[in-house]
């Protein structure tokens, strides 16, 4: 079954320019993603920061021409942008060894130079989306609800133990645990486009 998704796809909100908060939400989540992704290329802190700013700026300029309805490859596009920006910067920074071909050089400076970039990028993105969404929900959750969720879903303790510890009944622990994840999921879903089905 599907959690009713009242929030539109974030990308579509960006494209429609329907609300300005879409942009800040997008930046909040993706700036650290791109930053950490760039760090995988052995870039220095300042360079990784530069990469993330550059990618966000490019997105801000190009997002409207990105055809979200035709395909759900937004994150693929994003990871390409990030990789391109990182590689460009690496290239700019390197003292060019004479002769060496680009690809050997890249393989030597970037241990994990992965020609299938989307995997690493998607991991970072998923990580950041989870942290961001969980923080939003934590901020607006009753302490008991949050703890019931955390202890059962994250720390994987048996619901009966948690119920006992928190002085709740098992049914309520389950309600808290599930409602909390449902809320987290509904915040993350706008970041996943059609390809998430």
């Amino acid at each position: 079954m599907a959690i009713p998704d009242t929030r539109h796809s974030l990308i579509r909100r960006l494209v429609d320019r329907a609300d300005a908060s879409a942009w800040s939400e997008f930046c909040t989540v993706y700036e650290p993603v791109i930053y950490r992704f760039a760090k995988r290329f052995n870039l220095q802190d300042a360079d990784a920061r530069e990469v993330s700013q550059e990618v966000l700026l490019t997105v801000s300029r190009k997002v409207e021409s990105f055809d979200t309805l035709a395909n759900g490859r937004f994150r693929g596009w994003l990871s390409k942008l990030a990789r391109n920006a990182a590689v460009d910067l690496l290239r700019k920074r390197r003292e060019r060894p004479t002769g060496g071909s680009d690809i050997f050089w890249l393989l030597s400076v970037v241990p994990a130079f992965d020609l299938e970039p989307s995997q690493a990028f998607l991991q970072e993105a998923r990580h950041q989306q989870f942290h961001w969404a969980a923080e939003q929900i934590r901020q607006s959750s009753q302490p008991m609800t949050w703890q019931a969720f955390w202890l059962t879903a994250v720390e994987n303790l048996p619901a009966t133990d948690v119920a006992h510890k928190l002085g709740m009944n098992v049914g309520s622990v389950y309600v808290a645990r599930c409602r909390t994840l449902a809320r987290i999921k509904s915040l993350i879903e706008p970041f996943l486009e059609e390809d998430a089905s």
Binding site: I3, P4, R17, D19, A20, W23, T28, E31, P32, D45, A46, D47, R49, E50, Q53, E54, L56, L57, S60, R61, K62, S65, K80, N84, S101, D102, I103, L106, L107, L115, H127, F130, H131, W132, A134, E135, Q136, R138, Q139, S140, S141, Q142, P143, W146, Q147, W150, A153, V154, N156, N169, V170, G171, S172, Y174, V175, C178, R179, L181, A182, K185
Partner: protein, 467 residues
């Protein structure tokens, strides 16, 4: 009396999940859940597929900050940004305070921006209020933001100037990094504009002079502020002195990452065209932003407006702002010429330095205060009457010559002229299109093509490796 319901019902579970049951029903279904392991399992599945539960565990398990619940009832009308601050404070020892930050009693939350929250604290020893800027916890976890935060401290601490908010202390060891500054009592310029609309001409110029002075000092240190806007300009108690604050995005000129580093977060309404486009910028970008601030003070609104950040980013440097006097007819025509010196899109044509800006603004202010004694500088003057009439004469002569020329050269058909003009227009259109097409191409296909080449090279290498 409602029937006791102790049976499995998926639909009820869905309603329960989305908190759509009334209290009695919710209680009943919860009691049923207590007894029925199958329904508990079903509720898990209705919530999210297994992968989500697994990710929840593997992704969140190492986060200590997320593990701790927020001890504030969500029913309290405190917004998120403020809630976390209050949450961080130790209980107050003083009835005037909402809590303690290290040894400081916090009086209130006074501001909130892109980097975090600013609170007012009381300095017990010196009996004065201070402003403490805390980096938001979400940003504090990112190395980049921390760096940016400390750079603000370094940048502002380096420049000592009456029109720049000084930084007293930087705390790096506390729960969250924070900066301590004097409390500036008059609020920020944006609030003043929102409250009162356009400012009087003398104030527009006087605020302009002070910010230009602050920029002279910052630029002398090789520091570009990059975020000059009314919300970052604070007003002294009497409202006469203004102080530039928030050096969070400032960079030194020789910082290697200066080129190519567009700032995205934040309001782009005051950004120079080169900054909005992510091109390399220098001190003249701040001068553009100062022009936008002058415009906002004179008219009550920024020169570029749009429905969203994206729209504004795109529009900066493309639209010609509406002339000041059309929005605020109490303003003289020359003010528009003055502001235009700052809002010049082409960097080379823009006013060249903060020092020049100080001079121009100062002499204009002197002129407003004593017009007879201090004539307006030449570059802002309207063409005088006598030179105007000379021009009319010149145009008349030219026209007469043309008529004579036309008469004595009747072979030139007038239709050809029209055709030339329209084809010229047509050409302009095409070349504009070509420009955008080329612009797109250089981004969308150039780099990916290069990467594809790399990819196929690597593929070839892989294939050449014997198995």
């Amino acid at each position: 009396m409602i029937a006791y319901r102790d049976e499995c019902d998926s639909q009820l579970l869905v309603e329960l999940l989305h908190a759509r049951l009334d209290r009695v029903e919710e209680e009943q279904v919860t009691i049923h859940l207590e007894r029925c392991a199958a329904c508990r399992q079903e509720l898990d599945q209705l919530t999210a597929p297994d992968a989500w539960w697994q990710d929840t565990q593997s992704i969140l398990k190492d986060s200590d900050s997320l593990a701790t619940p927020v001890e504030i009832a969500p029913s309290q009308p405190i917004d998120n940004a403020v809630a976390w601050v209050v949450n961080l404070l130790k209980p107050a020892t003083n009835i005037n305070a909402i809590g303690m930050l290290d040894h400081w009693p916090v009086r209130e939350v006074i501001g909130q921006g892109g980097m975090g929250v600013v609170v007012k604290v009381w300095d017990e020893e010196l009996h004065r209020p201070l402003a403490v800027k805390l980096l938001s916890p979400m940003l504090a976890s990112s190395g980049a933001s921390r760096q940016r935060f400390f750079r603000e401290a370094q940048a502002a601490a380096a420049v000592v100037h009456p029109n720049i908010v000084p930084i007293y202390t930087v705390a790096t060891e506390s729960v969250l990094p924070y900066l301590v500054m004097p409390f500036v009592a008059g609020g920020n310029l944006q609030q003043r504009i929102d409250r009162e609309g356009p400012l009087p001409l003398t104030e527009v110029l006087s605020v302009g002079v002070q910010i230009a002075e602050a920029l002279v000092a910052a630029h002398r240190f090789g520091l570009v502020h990059r975020d000059i806007k009314p919300a970052n300009i604070l007003l002294d108690d009497g409202g006469h002195r203004v102080l530039l604050s928030d050096f969070g995005l400032a960079r030194t000129i020789d910082d290697a990452s200066l080129t190519n580093s567009g700032m995205v977060a934040g309001t782009p309404q005051y950004m120079s065209p080169e900054q909005a486009r992510g091109m390399s910028i220098d001190h003249r970008s701040d001068l553009y932003s100062l022009g936008a601030v002058l415009y906002a003070m004179a008219t009550g609104r920024p020169p570029v407006r749009g429905d969203s950040t994206l729209a504004v980013l795109r529009r900066v440097g493309e639209d010609q702002p509406i002339p000041v006097y059309e929005i605020n007819e109490t303003m003289p025509l020359w003010l528009d010429r003055l502001i235009q010196r700052f809002l010049e899109k082409k960097v080379e044509l823009r006013i060249a330095s903060a020092l020049d800006a100080v001079e121009l603004l100062r002499s204009s202010l002197a002129h407003v205060r004593a017009p007879v004694r201090n004539p307006l500088v030449k570059e802002l003057q309207t063409p005088s009457r006598s030179s105007l009439s000379r021009r009319i004469l010149a145009v008349g002569l030219l026209a007469a010559m043309l008529v004579v020329g036309y008469v004595s050269w009747p072979t030139k058909p007038s239709t050809e002229k029209v055709a030339t003009v329209s084809s010229q227009k047509h050409y302009n259109k095409i070349s504009n299109n070509q420009f955008t097409a080329k612009d797109e191409m250089s981004f969308d296909s150039d780099i990916p093509t290069r990467l594809n080449e790399l990819e196929s090279k690597l593929q070839a290498i892989r294939e050449s490796i014997p198995k």
